[in-house]
Symmetry: C2
Subunit: 144 residues, 2 copies
DNA sequence: TACTATATCTGCATATTGCAGATAGCTGTA
DNA sequence: TACAGCTATCTGCAATATGCAGATATAGTA
């Protein structure tokens, strides 16, 4: 539960949004080709994180975690300028993991659409009711 | 991060899915009319939780929390059979909170669609590449 | 040297959520 | 009466998710 008492007050966590969404994003980016964490971090905004920024710690933690689970493999790249980079490559398991994610996200979209449609339908009915009430009021005013 | 090492192993949390999604569901249900927690719990499956079940503790906690934040108000109903029920009513604040949720969920849908489209486009390109590679192979076989 | 950009990683606090179980009233039945 | 089962609400706990702050290190530039 949000601790904040006020409106929308939520210092940590983004409140709504899809859980663990960075994970499929990283998987897709890695499916396009091998890279290191910092590069992935910079590419994330193109992939859904237009408004919201992802913290670098989250990206690095997911990468390490996915390596532990065998979805990616890393090697050190000491070529070029700057500090060494840990370059990640998607494994066949990671490929299947991405497919599993996509399946889940498609289901999430169905759920989301169904909910938003339920909302719209309810509000439209509500609108009609208000319309009828207003008409009734007008009639009352006329008849009085 | 998921602690489980195996595939899809995730005993708690549903992994993907929309965070706090029960909250807007409860708000919409309450917008349709006042009711108590148990009734809301039973109505939730109609509203997006077709597959997954929501634990009763989650529902009751969100209701109490939203009451603390002024989005709903409760009264005890001791009429009728069974134990007393705490009946919730949406407040004007709760009404605006629902509207805020809807706004966020529409944004989430945009993000989700954009990601899934990026995936589909990438996979289609991938498919084309494979097609070209295969054609090249066939050509090689022919020329050899 | 000091500052900046690149790059990775850790610790902490908070938030989210499933699971287990406590408590209690009412209903039907052996 | 006893007890099983349904209704109804609530608490504690553990696992997970995630933002924030900051540590560490390399290399280029003023």
């Amino acid at each position: 539960m949000p601790h904040g008492r006020g409106w929308r007050r939520r210092r940590r966590g983004r409140g709504h949004g899809i859980r663990r969404f960075v994970e499929p994003c990283l998987l897709l980016l890695l499916h396009r080709g091998d890279t290191h964490g910092y590069d992935l971090l910079e590419r994330l905004p193109d992939l859904g994180f237009a408004e919201e920024t992802v913290d670098s710690s989250v990206v690095y933690r997911y990468l390490r975690d996915m390596e532990d689970r065998g979805f990616v493999a890393s090697t050190w790249d000491t070529e070029g300028a700057g500090p060494p980079r840990r370059v990640y490559r998607l494994s066949p398991e990671g490929d299947r993991y991405l497919a599993w994610w996509i399946e889940g996200l498609r289901q999430t979209r169905v759920t989301l659409d169904r909910f938003l449609q339920a909302y719209d339908e309810h509000m439209e009915l509500e609108g009609h009711t208000i319309q009828i009430e207003r008409t009734a009021d007008v009639d009352n005013q006329r008849s009085s």
